[in-house]
C-alpha cells in the first residue's frame, strides 16, 4: 500500500511540474533563473491554476467517495446529483439579491443550498427500492438536471446567463492569484473528512451495522453531507462544476483497493488531483494555443478509464 502512496505522490508532483511550464506564454525551466517575468507569470497564473486543479480534483474525488458511501450506490457523485447545481443556485440567488455580496457570502449561501439539495436527493433515494441500484444515478441525473434548468431559467430572467455559464461549466483558464484561495478551505474540509474515514466506511455497510457498532447513523450521514456540500460549493464558486472526477476515481480505487477509507482516501485524493490536473494540461495542449475545457477532456478520459476498469479483473490489497 505504501508504494501506491509513493506512486500517487510522484505522479502528482510530476504533473504539477509539467503544468507550471505548459501554456500560451512560452516558459522553460532555464527562464526561472534568467527572466524575472517568468517568476511573475508563475506566481500570478501558472501556480494558482495548478493548485486549483489539484485541490478541486482531489476534494471532488473525496466528496464523491463519501457520497457513494452515504447513498450506498457507486454511480452517484455530487456534481451530477444536485449538490453542484444547488450550489450554483445559491450563488445565483445571492448575486441577484445583493450583487455586491462578498465571495465569502456567496460561498456560504451556496453551501447551504447545496446541503438542502443534497438532503432532498437523499430523501428521494431512501424511497427507491434497494433492488434497483441503477435507479439512483438516473434519479440523480434528472434531479440535478432539474435544478440546473431552474438555475438557467432564473439566470435567463435576470439576464445573467453569461455569469452562470462560468459556474455550470468548470474551467481553470480563469484561475489567477487572488481568485482561487477559497479552495484551500475545500482542501481543509476534505482533510477533515479523513478523521471520520472509519465512520463513513461503516455507514457504507448499512444502517443496521452502523447502529450495532454504536454509531449514530443520521449524525454520520449529516456530517458527510455537510462536507460534500461545502466542498461542492467552494469548487463551484471558484472554478465551476467539474463532472466525472467524483464518479470515476472512487470507483477505480474501490475496485483496486476495496473500501477501507482510512487506507484508500489518500489515494482517492491523489488520483482525483492527478486526473484533473492531467486533463487540464491535455486541454491546454490539444488545440494549442486554444483551450479545451477540462470537463470535456475529463468526460472522454474518464469514460475510457472506466470502461477499461470494468473489464479488468479486480485486485484487492
Amino acid at each position: 500500500m505504501t508504494r501506491w502512496y509513493w506512486a500517487g505522490g510522484f505522479a502528482l508532483a510530476f504533473l504539477s511540474f509539467i503544468s507550471i511550464f505548459v501554456g500560451v506564454i512560452d516558459l522553460s525551466f532555464g527562464d526561472l533563473w534568467r527572466d524575472p517575468e517568468a517568476l511573475r507569470l508563475i506566481g500570478i497564473s501558472r501556480f494558482p491554476r495548478t493548485i486549483a486543479a489539484v485541490i478541486a480534483g482531489g476534494t471532488l474525488a473525496v466528496a464523491g467517495c463519501v457520497m457513494q458511501m452515504l447513498v450506498r450506490n457507486r454511480f452517484v457523485e455530487p456534481m451530477t446529483a444536485g449538490t453542484g447545481q444547488g450550489a450554483a443556485l445559491g450563488i445565483l440567488v445571492v448575486t441577484i439579491l445583493t450583487p455586491q455580496a462578498s465571495i465569502f457570502l456567496k460561498m456560504s449561501l451556496a453551501s447551504v443550498t447545496a446541503l438542502v439539495t443534497s438532503l432532498g436527493f437523499l430523501a428521494i433515494v431512501r424511497r427507491l427500492p434497494p433492488t434497483q441500484p441503477l435507479l439512483v444515478p438516473l434519479i440523480g441525473l434528472v434531479y440535478g438536471g432539474l435544478i440546473g434548468a431552474a438555475v438557467v431559467f432564473v439566470a435567463y430572467q435576470a439576464d445573467l446567463l453569461q455569469f452562470i455559464s462560468v459556474w455550470l461549466n468548470g474551467e481553470f483558464s480563469g484561475v489567477l492569484r487572488g481568485r482561487y484561495e477559497l479552495l484551500w478551505l475545500a482542501a481543509a474540509g476534505a482533510a477533515l473528512t479523513y478523521f471520520a474515514a472509519d465512520q463513513f466506511a461503516i455507514v457504507g455497510m448499512g444502517q443496521a451495522v452502523t447502529t450495532s457498532l454504536g454509531l449514530n447513523y443520521k449524525q454520520v450521514v449529516l456530517v458527510g453531507l455537510i462536507a460534500i456540500s461545502l466542498i461542492s460549493a467552494l469548487t463551484v464558486v471558484t472554478v465551476g462544476i467539474i463532472p466525472f472526477v467524483g464518479l470515476v476515481v472512487p470507483n477505480i480505487i474501490s475496485r483496486l483497493f476495496g473500501d477501507n477509507l482510512r487506507r484508500t482516501l489518500p489515494l482517492v485524493a491523489m488520483m482525483g488531483a492527478s486526473l484533473t490536473l492531467g486533463s487540464d494540461i491535455a486541454g491546454r495542449l490539444i488545440r494549442f494555443p486554444f483551450e479545451v475545457p477540462v470537463g470535456t477532456v475529463l468526460g472522454v478520459v474518464g469514460a475510457a478509464i472506466f470502461l477499461w476498469l470494468l473489464y479488468r479483473t479486480p485486485r484487492y490489497a
Binding site: P130, A201, I202, M205, Q207, V209
Partner: protein
C-alpha cells in the same frame, strides 16, 4: 438477562408483534424458532435497537434499550443480522476489525488487534484474511460476518440464523463455540434457528414464535413435541428420543 415487556410492533399498520413479554436467561443459549414470517428477526432487531421501539420495553442486563447510550450498548450487545444488506468491499481482516470499533473508535490498540487475530483463528479465516469479502463463498462470508460479531466481544450476542450457508462441520463447531462462550465465559446468547434438532441439542431454552406471539417456551426436552410441530409449524413429523433429547425425523 434480557427482559421484554409488552412489546408490540407494527409496520404500515399491520401488526408484526403483539404484546410479547419474555425473559431470556443470563449466561445461557436461548433459541428462537418459528415459521417464516413469525417475527423472529423483528424481535431481534427491536432488542438490538435497529428498529425504534413502538410499544413496550426491553432491558438488556442493566441497560434500557432506547434510553441508554448507543455506544454503551454496542459494548454490551452485538447482533448478526439475518441478511447483511450489502456485501462490503473489504478484506476479511478489515471487516472483522470493524467489530472492535465500539472500543477503539478508530485507533485500535494491541488488544484490539489481538482480538481480531483471535477471531480470525477461531473461525478458520486466518488464511483468508487478505481476501475481499465479496469474493468469498457464501459460507466463508457467513463465517466472516460471525467473526466480526464475535470480535465485538459483548456479553449479549444476538444471532439471526447464523447457520445459513454453513456446512455441517462449520455449523457444529459454531454451536460448540457458542456453548463454550455461554458455559465458560458467561455470555448470553440468543439465536434464531430453523433446524430444531440443533436447537434441542445445543440450546438451554427454547422460544417458539407464531404470528407475532410467543407460542411456547421452555427447556427443549419438554418443548419439542409433535404438538409443537403441528400447531406452530403445521407439519406432521415424528419425534424420536435419543439420550433423552427429542430429535425431529425430517
Amino acid at each position: 438477562m434480557i427482559s421484554i415487556r409488552n412489546l408490540s410492533h407494527q409496520i404500515g399498520g399491520a401488526p408484526i408483534l403483539t404484546d410479547i413479554s419474555l425473559d431470556l436467561p443470563r449466561g445461557k443459549i436461548s433459541a428462537l424458532i418459528g415459521p417464516n414470517g413469525a417475527g423472529k428477526s423483528t424481535l431481534l432487531s427491536l432488542i438490538a435497537r435497529l428498529e425504534k421501539l413502538q410499544g413496550g420495553s426491553v432491558i438488556v442486563g442493566n441497560l434500557t434499550v432506547g434510553s441508554c447510550s448507543n455506544r454503551e450498548l454496542a459494548k454490551h450487545l452485538s447482533i448478526l443480522p439475518q441478511m447483511p444488506d450489502q456485501v462490503p468491499r473489504l478484506c476479511v481482516r478489515d471487516l472483522v476489525s470493524f467489530g472492535r470499533y465500539p472500543y477503539h473508535q478508530g485507533r485500535p490498540t494491541a488488544d484490539d488487534e489481538a482480538a481480531v487475530e483471535h477471531a480470525l483463528a477461531v473461525f478458520g479465516l486466518t488464511g483468508l484474511a487478505k481476501r475481499s469479502v465479496d469474493e468469498l463463498s457464501g459460507g466463508q462470508r457467513q463465517r466472516a460476518q460471525i467473526a466480526m460479531t464475535f470480535a465485538q466481544d459483548t456479553e449479549y450476542m444476538l444471532l439471526d440464523e447464523p447457520l445459513n450457508n454453513l456446512d455441517i462441520a462449520g455449523a457444529r463447531s459454531l454451536m460448540a463455540l457458542l456453548r463454550d462462550l455461554a458455559d465458560n465465559h458467561g455470555k448470553t446468547i440468543v439465536i434464531v434457528l430453523h433446524d430444531i434438532n440443533y436447537a434441542s441439542r445445543y440450546a438451554d431454552w427454547l422460544v417458539a414464535m407464531h404470528d407475532g406471539q410467543i407460542a411456547v417456551e421452555g427447556a427443549p426436552a419438554q418443548t419439542v413435541t409433535s404438538d409443537l410441530l403441528r400447531d406452530v409449524f403445521q407439519t406432521d413429523a415424528d419425534i424420536q428420543h435419543i439420550d433423552g433429547l427429542p430429535i425431529v425425523m425430517v
